[in-house]
């Protein structure tokens, strides 16, 4: 229970506000995380050859890499070493970057130049998890 300035008992904040309140300390703003991105092949004028899928969500990773990246991002120790180099030794060495760590495949149906039709499953076409490296 918190007491406000004239000693009266201030109403307790509910647990959800509490977690929001503490979040600002635990997770810096715009931290490295997965962001949605959805495109349709007609936007790129590729829908003449790509029959399916009509829409494709490759997603992407964006945000700042916190200094203590080990436990949350599964980053190797090298990431922290690189951060220390950047902060203390040589700022021309880049900070660790927020990049995809895992992907899922995509099935595509396309028309080939000779008019034949091909169904193909491609590896690593949709980012599903981010990391700092």
């Amino acid at each position: 229970w918190r007491r406000d300035e004239n000693g009266k008992e201030a109403p307790a904040t509910s647990p959800s506000n509490l977690s929001e309140y503490f979040k600002q300390f635990l997770f810096p703003q715009n931290e490295c995380e997965l962001h949605n991105f959805r495109l349709s092949f007609s936007q790129l004028k590729w829908d003449k050859w790509i029959i399916a899928p009509h829409r494709y969500s490759p997603q992407y990773c964006k945000g700042d890499c916190p200094r203590a990246v080990g436990h949350r991002y599964g980053s190797p120790v090298h990431t922290m070493v690189q951060n220390i180099i950047y902060e203390k030794l040589d700022s021309s060495v880049p900070k660790p970057s927020c990049v995809p760590a895992e992907y899922s495949p995509l099935s595509v149906l396309t028309i080939e130049p000779d008019g034949s039709i091909v169904y193909k499953e491609y590896e690593d076409m949709i980012a599903t998890k981010c990391t700092c490296r």
Partner: protein
């Protein structure tokens, strides 16, 4: 530095090469540093096709062969069975292929078909050009696909006889001399809103495709009669069967790095290194219809 360029090309990180004529600003290929020229060669075929075609589409509407509408309908149905709406492959363990190619017979011999189709006996001369099959795509199953558009109402059961013969005679460099140059089999099926008849020709075509044959030239005699020989109903008049030449469907396992390998993802999931099983026996059906016996199966057992 070379290592980074090689790194980029090894990872084929979707970097596309700027083509010679870098005049048009529209060209997306301009977005990338020159140093990734080698990356282009290792691009997944899709990105290579798209970047070339994408480039063509901007520069000029290069004439492109339009696919057969029935074939397109079949492949869209196959896509719906194999992937979710978002395009993610369905985790269907029995679905071993990661590539399916559908070829329609070459156009130059299409009119040749017309005068060959006599009445209900369909003797067609088929030439399939398989240039698009890459060396890393291994054949799992091949199927002749007839689209079944009967113009007369038929009774529920139909029996078809099919006689296939390969037209190539230059078997000088043949790999397996026992290649059956001709095969005949019959198949019986129920016509109930059935749009397609799939004839498994894997064991017949496998030797040809394995020797990287670019053109497959064969004659197919396909006759269908109503009635069911088992019930020794007398076979009435032949039905007016698919008047269109069949397509050739190849179920393939693309072993290139950019293709999706199910056993690989299973391995990641189980965190136990799983050795990819060598797929020797071609008769393992990649489309997972284990129960369904193929016409070869029937013939073999007979």
């Amino acid at each position: 530095p070379h290592s980074r360029a090689r790194g980029a090309s090894d990872k084929s990180s979707g970097l596309l090469e700027a083509p010679e004529d870098t005049s048009s600003e529209l060209n997306p290929l301009l977005w990338l540093p020159k140093g990734t020229r080698r990356g282009y060669a290792l691009l997944p075929p899709l990105l290579k096709v798209l970047s070339e075609r994408g480039h063509q589409a901007w520069e000029s509407e290069a004439p492109r062969l339009r696919p057969d509408s029935r074939a397109l309908r079949y492949m869209k149905r196959l896509y719906k069975m194999s992937a979710t709406k978002e395009g993610v492959p369905k985790a269907n363990k029995s679905h071993l292929y990661n590539t399916v190619r559908l070829f329609t017979p070459c156009s130059e011999c299409k009119h040749h078909h017309r005068d060959l189709v006599k009445g209900d006996i369909h003797l067609v001369d088929l030439l399939f050009n398989l240039d698009r099959v890459t060396g890393l795509e291994h054949l799992l199953k091949s199927v002749l696909l007839y689209s079944f558009d009967t113009s007369v109402p038929v009774s529920s059961s139909v029996t078809c006889m099919c006689h296939l013969s390969v037209k190539e005679h230059d078997f000088s460099g043949q790999v397996c001399p026992s290649v059956p140059h001709a095969v005949a089999f019959s198949l019986h099926f129920e016509v109930r809103k059935r749009k397609w008849v799939e004839i498994d020709v894997t064991s017949f075509l496998q030797p040809l495709i394995a020797t990287n044959r670019r053109n497959i030239h064969m004659a197919v005699n396909f006759t269908c009669l109503t009635g069911d020989p088992q019930q020794n109903i007398n076979m009435e008049n032949p039905i007016n069967m698919a008047l269109v030449p069949p397509s050739l469907l190849l179920y393939l396992n693309d072993t290139s790095e950019q293709a999706y390998h199910r056993w690989n993802s299973l391995r990641h999931r189980r965190k136990i290194p799983v050795r990819p099983r060598q797929r020797n026996s071609l008769l393992v059906d990649p489309t997972g219809d284990k129960g369904k016996e193929t016409s070869q199966g029937k013939r073999a057992s007979r």
